[in-house]
Symmetry: C2
Subunit: 376 residues, 2 copies
């Protein structure tokens, strides 16, 4: 696996690159749809491929570990074989879900003991175990086991937690070195910068993380409720420190505007549940602004879902029909809205990349941002 | 619109035919997927067309009347335009849902007053109104407004109800004659035979209904809990009376075995929620028997969903993956199982038709029935 940096924008820090994996090339900047339990909710694999044009999807270690479980995934020959998605996959370390979903949890230096939200069973994740599990799931990109601090988080806790995350990273790196891929293709580890919204901690963490010389680096602990100014300030600060020749992944971000602003700060990879989760409530992102399809104004609007859309659903269905489906809580409505939103996110990334390569990204971004924020 | 009877099986009463509509030809025997609220739950229109190969779908007048409502459907130019399904459509009269879903209801000679299960609002359906509504929805095939008696039903009630259904039919026929299609294509009415499980009532009803000389005729009030022997006995008796040169539609039936047995009795058209509803609980119908995909036995079965299946999902996904999705209550699981089951029902009808045309239907049917009942 390797990363090639192809171009950097002159008027911003935006970058265009390529991540080469054994499951194919990822063109950056890229958005990764979230496939929690081995499925992007309501989306067929061929739709992900042909309609959404996803290049890499994310799997959640916590969910996959509990269901279907490692025995099944390993017997299948890894998650790619299990769910039939043949392009690159990234798994988170499970930490975030342990903190946010598990019934009860206890964090110690050794690791995290937690209770399944499904059946109440007890489990113990350590940095070493998180690596072993992700090896077994078979992700192309494995994430380090960290503690994602909440917002707000007091300085003392953020500092102590960050240092533990660094010690856990050392254990993750050692476990990566001590083990081999299980299915014949390469797997790499991304460490995660923490430090909440404290500049000195973020600086220290970015420097510590960079020193590990991993394949790529991630920024965690943001998009957890802090104001956008903090998100941008921390991302900018960290991107300035992280090595230029390695891909940078901003975890859990965000709105289309967040994505463009963070691309301008030098981020290459994103994931977020927003396009799929908001689709379920009838919120559509478009290049002309945001549509709440439940609004009465659309009830007799028989124009295509999104005339500027790149997915077939944008032209096969009308606004009035989607409104009816979402209001009637019909699954087809969720399916249509999900495909639309994810296809829009991917198209936006593709377009950003073209403008970076063409040298006019910043100008384009500044023209797009106000349009994306419109309420239609 | 016209119906052509192409062949009748020698060893049974099975028939192969063609219903010509302004939205295309329906090859009978046919199964009609149920598209309750203008959508076959969880299935894209192009999947209905290309993967399931549906030739006609059913819409529910009760649901469509309440949501999105006639104003929206009429403004769209009818249901075909509203939901983008360009092939034939049939609507029920709304009666069945009024009896089974509505909050409260009161049946009089004039019609049925009922309360919406969605918002508690009061509405009044009469035979005339049921025709007007279906004209506005724009169904190719309109069903008469009847009372579907429950099972069991005492003789006196069944008789009184049947006579009212006949009087209502007269009003439906008159309303059809007094009104015109709204969207430039032909619409025809199917009357419905009632009479519960009483032979004399069924005989009387089939004769009364036949005398109206409608485009086609339906058999209602079955598949409501009675034993299969009663279903077959009543269907046989009624088919013997209904005119041979008109299509026969058995409403709300049934399992794959029910379909084959009733084709053998002379039925041409079927609809049922079973393939889609049971899909949601992980029950798959196949030519080798019934699969409960939740069973532990499938948890590491990485063979294709159904090697003999005619839909792409049968080959794109494995049993173990579908089991995981259904157990995890993931919508994608329901989508896959629904496409599989509906495609199987349509394939079974296609195959039955080929055997009727080839002259060996009964032999084939007798070989298929035990296989279809296997529990895999």
């Amino acid at each position: 696996m390797h990363f090639s940096l192809l171009a950097t924008d002159k008027a911003s820090k935006a970058r265009a690159g390529e991540i080469h994996t054994d499951h194919g090339v990822i063109e950056t900047p890229i958005f990764m749809p979230v496939g929690t339990a081995g499925t992007v909710k309501g989306v067929h694999q061929h739709e992900l491929n042909e309609d959404i044009r996803a290049e890499i999807i994310l799997g959640n270690t916590y969910h996959l570990f509990l269901r279907p479980g490692l025995e099944v995934i390993e017997a299948a020959g890894g998650l790619h074989k299990f769910n039939g998605w043949n392009k690159p996959m990234l798994t988170d370390s499970g930490g975030y879900q342990v903190y946010s979903l598990a019934g009860s949890r206890k964090i110690t230096e050794e690791g995290v003991k937690f209770q399944s939200h499904i059946d109440g069973s007890y489990h113990f994740f350590t940095p070493e175990r998180a690596i072993d599990i992700q090896r077994t799931i078979g992700a192309d990109i494995i994430m380090a086991f960290d503690e994602c601090t909440p917002y707000p988080c007091d300085y003392k806790y953020a500092k102590r937690s960050m240092h533990m995350t660094h010690r856990w990273l050392k254990r993750c790196m050692d476990q990566m070195k001590a083990t081999q891929p299980k299915y014949g293709y390469d797997q790499v580890l991304f460490p995660i910068v923490q430090g909440s919204v404290y500049k000195d901690l973020r600086t220290l963490s970015a420097e510590a993380i960079s020193s590990f010389d991993a394949f790529g680096n991630a920024i965690g602990g943001l998009s957890v409720g802090e104001p956008d100014e903090d998100l941008y300030e921390m991302t900018d600060l960290v991107c300035e420190i992280l090595p230029k020749e390695k891909p940078r992944y901003l975890m859990g971000v965000g709105t289309p505007v967040n994505l463009l602003e963070c691309i301008a700060l030098g981020v290459d990879m994103f994931d977020c549940v927003m396009p799929s989760r908001n689709a379920r409530h009838g919120m559509l992102f478009t290049r002309n602004g945001i549509i709440n399809i439940k609004n009465k104004k659309w009830y007799k609007d028989f124009s295509p879902l999104d005339e500027s859309g790149t997915s077939y659903v944008d032209h096969a269905y009308t606004k009035a029909y989607l409104r009816h489906l979402i209001i009637s809580k019909e699954n087809l409505g969720i399916q249509i809205a999900t495909i639309h939103n994810l296809a829009f996110y991917l198209t936006l990334m593709k377009e950003a990349r073209q403008h970076i390569l063409a040298g006019d990204f910043n100008e384009w971004k500044n023209a797009m941002v106000p349009k994306l924020q419109n309420r239609l």
